[in-house]
Symmetry: C2
Subunit: 226 residues, 2 copies
Amino acid sequence: MKTAVLGTGIVGRTIAGGAARLGHEVVIGTRDPQATLRRTEGDTMGNPPFGVWHADHAEVGLLPFAEAAAYGENVVNATSGGSSLEILALAGAENLAGKVLIDVANPLDFSAGFPPTLLVKDTDSLGEQIQRAFPDAKVVKTLNTVNAAVMVDPRALADGEHSIFVSGNDTAAKATVTELLQGFGWKDVIDLGDISSARGTEMLLPIWLRLMNVLGTPAFNFRIVR
Amino acid sequence: MKTAVLGTGIVGRTIAGGAARLGHEVVIGTRDPQATLRRTEGDTMGNPPFGVWHADHAEVGLLPFAEAAAYGENVVNATSGGSSLEILALAGAENLAGKVLIDVANPLDFSAGFPPTLLVKDTDSLGEQIQRAFPDAKVVKTLNTVNAAVMVDPRALADGEHSIFVSGNDTAAKATVTELLQGFGWKDVIDLGDISSARGTEMLLPIWLRLMNVLGTPAFNFRIVR
């Protein structure tokens, strides 16, 4: 399986590394690969610059957005939510058409500081915006409700006894994504319905951020007890 | 403990019955007690009219909103979110001052059908609106993330291995509410912080409603696994 991950931040790196461990052939997409590799400063959360990570993950390629998207049979949107639509346009609708587009981004607005608010909510969602902008892609919203480390290694937290959600209009695409999630170790994958149900998971972010503050860790998750 | 519950719907009845079982002296507040008792039609969810319930719960009094609020040492807002501010005004700021005001309502807007949207969200919440409107009350948001039956009998679901949240500005008020919740059987009460954290729990409603649809039952809850 050829998987393209758009975004070089901690989420993109973690998903790329996770997919590579599952045996996928993985490329990461970025605006300008040489510029990305030249960066010497880490991010504000203490993660090292991309080149340091990449030196340990030589099996993962690095390509411009459009070339990465063209390469992938599945494409993961791991960009920040506020720039996702712009970056997916750079990736190119023709390179996303017919493919599963896994959207893990959250439309967070940090312009007024912490906690962020949501750029879109309640009557629309980023997942729906992406599906409308790229009608030939099969958008599946998932993994946006957990920290990057939990995304690809759920069993490191409470032996995986917690839940993850998928939202999307294409049943086969959700089955493909569910298989990928099970590969990562997810036990309880809940299909919430069509892509409009992404409103629900994106609107989890406000309580997620409060919980991170009071629990003092991003290593937690929701389990749907029934 | 004298507890007043504002609202005669299934949430108000269930909390009133639960508090009475804990030994509280309970009254329910309504606009016009005689009119409430005269109703002969149930609600759209198949619950019987108030009088039928009340005949089985003679220990619970029924008073006009202001008299009920004056009676209660603690007051529970179990009205529908869209009318909570109006009804609390009828209850009277002077009857709420200095008291713990437990807000279990959700600001749902059903005007465009199902699923409802939220009347207030993200940068404000119903909990905050109530606290601003009644600054001398000690508002604690809680229980709005579960079905009425789960509210007062959490151990009937997975032996109570799931979570409930409290949000409020007054630490002593949150301790009082936590004690009440533990009386109902709640094991994992998470203090999310000040009343602005009610934004997070109110914004759980969209995913809650989707989950109710796909699970086919309102008897579920979130467990925060950490």
